[in-house]
Amino acid sequence: MNPDQVVLWYLHGVPVNATVFFTWVVMVFLVVGSWLVTRRLSHGPEMGRWQNLLEVVVTGMRDQIRQVTRQDPGDYLPFVGTLFLFIAVSNLLAVVPGFHPPTGSLSTTAALAMAVFVAVPVFGVARQGLWAYLAQYLKPTPFMLPFNVIGELSRTLALAVRLYGNIMSGVVIGAILLGVAPFFFPVLMQLLGLLTGLIQAYIFAVLAMVYIASAATAHRRTVAKEGEAPAPRPSQGG
């Protein structure tokens, strides 16, 4: 049920539970995989299949970030891209027997949401300066200050609980079905879980991007150019 309560072994008296262990598995997977692929990069059209895969992933993420923020994706790519890759790999590995996805634990998702919560003011202050960022909380009127602060907190909570609820429900339903149904049904649910896992990773990354972008762009009343939509305003809470 909860990977936090599955203690695998004790490291100098510190319990190592499944969440921590599999988080490290995912991190090692990502780091070693990236290192292996980027050891021999080629500039020409002749490239290895793995480099091709990584290039598709990275350019895809850059395009998405550029579309959401309408800015250069360079600054945001490390943070948002890491979030997406970590969540996606962790959710996709859930089909491996014996793998407890770390995102199926509220501890992991809360930590990721806290990272976004901290990143929003960091990017905002870096882009706009401290006072301009703080002044955003007084938009549109100073009366909205408490609601803006509450919205900041509640959307972080929603970010954590959404990912946790989706992944945990997939794992729980899979386990229950394994107990009552033959081979066929659980496999179908696992396939559905792969889809939801990837969509949830995408949603988490896009929402993080939208929150950061809204803090990092000054809300000047710009007249939208012809054929160009205004920058997306993030909804509060949700």
Binding site: M1, Q67, R162, S169, Q200, V206, V210, A229
Partner: protein
């Protein structure tokens, strides 16, 4: 029925009710959203990327209400504080 049985019965019944009632609204809303998005994509296939992304983000927002209900149901069944309290009172 003693306290323990009462807490168990009420928890199970209410958790079922929670997920049953709580998933109606999000289901209807998401169905509407998908239908509208399909219509929009059919009218403007060029904008499919933007529409799809906005649809997914919106669906996630709607989805979270159902997920709150799901989490409450899970808490009632698997991590019920009242159950633990009465269990300790009963010397279990």
């Amino acid at each position: 029925m003693d306290n323990l049985g009462l807490v168990a019965a009420v928890s199970i019944a209410v958790s079922g009710l929670t997920i049953a009632v709580g998933s109606i609204g999000p289901a209807l809303g998401e169905g509407r959203a998908v239908a509208q998005a399909l219509g929009a994509i059919a009218q403007q296939p060029d904008e499919a990327n933007t529409i799809t992304r906005t649809l997914f983000v919106g669906l996630a927002m709607v989805e979270s209400t159902a997920i709150y209900c799901f989490v409450v149901a899970m808490i009632l069944i698997f991590a019920n504080p009242f159950w633990d309290y009465f269990l300790s009172r009963a010397g279990g």
